[in-house]
Symmetry: C2
Subunit: 336 residues, 2 copies
């Protein structure tokens, strides 16, 4: 399998990216890596050249670039070339830690949607506090407005992912709503509830509330991109703030507090570990013809390697090909 | 001033409610309390009968009752009678710790909307981690679908509240969005951004992201009821889960962890105190002809007293009357 890597995306690129690739190479000798970016800068961190090609380019997309414009104008950018490689059939997946909006645009306009999927969604596996399984949530913000039909497709996409990539036999799919009762919701969620209830290919368990997300109430949670984005950022902001307040309270509490914190170090570390969802890999722009995966810009080599492992599983299990077949059959049914 | 109290709403009613009223009575001798509910049960906790009337009724709305149906069928319920008292001009505000949906329905159908306000919103003052000021957010779920015009009205409502009740001279009003740039957003937020930008009576500072809510980026944050509900429940769920994981990690960490936790007790208490937004009072169903205030069902006497203080401030500052005048002028302008 061949993974096209945007080596120039992220805060610590190309260092963190290439070092992560080196870590992944040890574990997965079956991956052929294509690294797009400044050759001299990349080469500094390459310790093993087997199954690895560097495709030099001087251009790159910056985090502050306007996404769609950047994709159209910077035709030689490392991210664009990586996406082009997939389109041309020279690579099987794209990895980037760069500008999220630009990667979404590259995914949509260069890699392209699976036939029958209207609006690919951004999906991450988020942490569950009561276990190590996590849950998949989409759309986390690829779209600002969604229709009920999109939410149905997210249920199918998420279910395929949980089954194939995470190995959950019969994933529980739920709809994020403002109450658990069937009659609850906005115009969008009421219609989405109906569609999800009638879909035979998924195990739909009904509505879940945002309060219970981290409790493991479902394996897949679908929502529109605006709400998903708000919920994800609220989880991050709340967690960051609580840990920040705790740290400040400890620092200002004198010797007693500092000794306490030292004794509690492991416990505090446990909490951070539970909340850190980089352990599940990156965010998938799901619904495209190939895996297009984004990790956080501040990501280090270990998280890059974890994300490559995730791509490896997506390619091994052929989850995208299976989706293509599923939606082709759906399209055929409708056109008959 | 006269406050109609639903003495039967909440998990520990009428005990917690009446005890809270007794606490508030000491501080505010100018309040005349009307307590609606079972007289014998209420009387057990009454320690001072000055400025207090008990209006006996056997009926009450339960937490599992279907809101609108309950309001219509249980015409003698304590909550319904409290709302009727305001409508009839016998009381100036309603307080309840009961069924939220039913209180919203009682507010809308019995107390009634301010002329010119289309969709009253549920508003709470939420905690800010970097200070003690907090911020007002609405709509937290009174509505499942909102139009851009509603969000503009929420900006005006929130600004009036922050100015009059919280004493903030020039409240910074922000729109919750999926990015801070002006061009970002859903169809709803893009249009709401335009309307908020053009409103001369408020100090609109643009978009904020959910990640920054608890950092004090704004004094008032407006959003649609579906998103607001999801964000509020996500804050609650994330905070509860993190504290839960921390507790569990401490309990399973042996003597070292337990000693550490003991030493850190004050710091952990600080975090809980920061997150506890009951200190700001209850949730206001804002946009009605009188203050209609809801506190959490699990609330104790101290939080009941704090909420009564909040109602006292709302009545003293005449924030609702000021809103009535503001929107009357707006309606007049349009009809001229």
């Amino acid at each position: 399998m061949r993974i096209a890597v945007d080596a120039m995306g992220g805060d610590d690129a190309p260092k963190a990216i290439v070092e992560g690739v080196m870590l992944a190479k040890k574990k997965f000798p079956d991956i052929e890596f294509q690294l797009y970016g400044k050759e001299a800068a990349i080469r500094q961190y390459v310790t093993d050249e087997t199954n690895l090609t560097i495709i030099h380019t001087d251009e790159k997309i910056d985090s502050e670039d306007e996404p769609v414009k950047a994709i159209r104008k910077k035709k030689q950018a490392s991210m664009v070339l990586a996406a082009q490689a997939v389109k041309a059939g020279h690579a099987d997946a794209v990895f980037s830690a760069g500008n999220t909006g630009a990667l979404l645009a590259a995914g949509l306009f260069i890699v392209g949607r699976i036939k029958g999927i209207e609006r690919p969604g951004l999906m991450s596996t988020l942490p569950v506090m009561t276990g190590n399984q996590g849950f998949d949530m989409l759309d986390l913000g690829a779209n600002a407005d969604n229709k009920p039909e999109h939410l149905l497709q997210y249920g199918i996409l998420g279910s395929f992912y949980a089954k194939n990539v995470r190995g959950i036999a019969n994933p529980r799919v739920a709809l994020l709503n403002n109450g658990t009762e069937e009659t609850k919701g906005s115009e969008l969620t009421k219609k989405a509830f109906e569609l999800l209830s009638q879909e035979p290919s998924i195990h739909f368990i009904g509505n879940v509330e945002a309060r219970d997300l981290l409790n493991g109430v479902a394996d897949v949670v679908v929502t529109d991109g605006f709400t998903g984005n708000a919920v994800l950022k609220t989880i991050e902001g709340t967690a960051m703030n609580i840990m920040g307040v705790l740290k400040e309270a400890i620092l200002s509490s004198g010797v007693k507090g500092k000794v306490g914190a030292l004794l509690l170090k492991d416990s505090l570390h446990d909490v951070k570990g539970k909340m850190d969802y980089a352990k599940y890999g990156g965010a998938v722009l799901f619904g495209l013809k190939a895996p297009v995966i984004k990790t956080h810009g501040a990501t280090g080599p270990a998280a890059v390697a974890t994300t490559i492992q995730q791509i490896h599983t997506m390619l091994t299990t052929q989850v995208v090909s299976k989706l293509v077949s599923h939606f082709e059959e759906e399209v055929d049914k409708v056109s008959q």
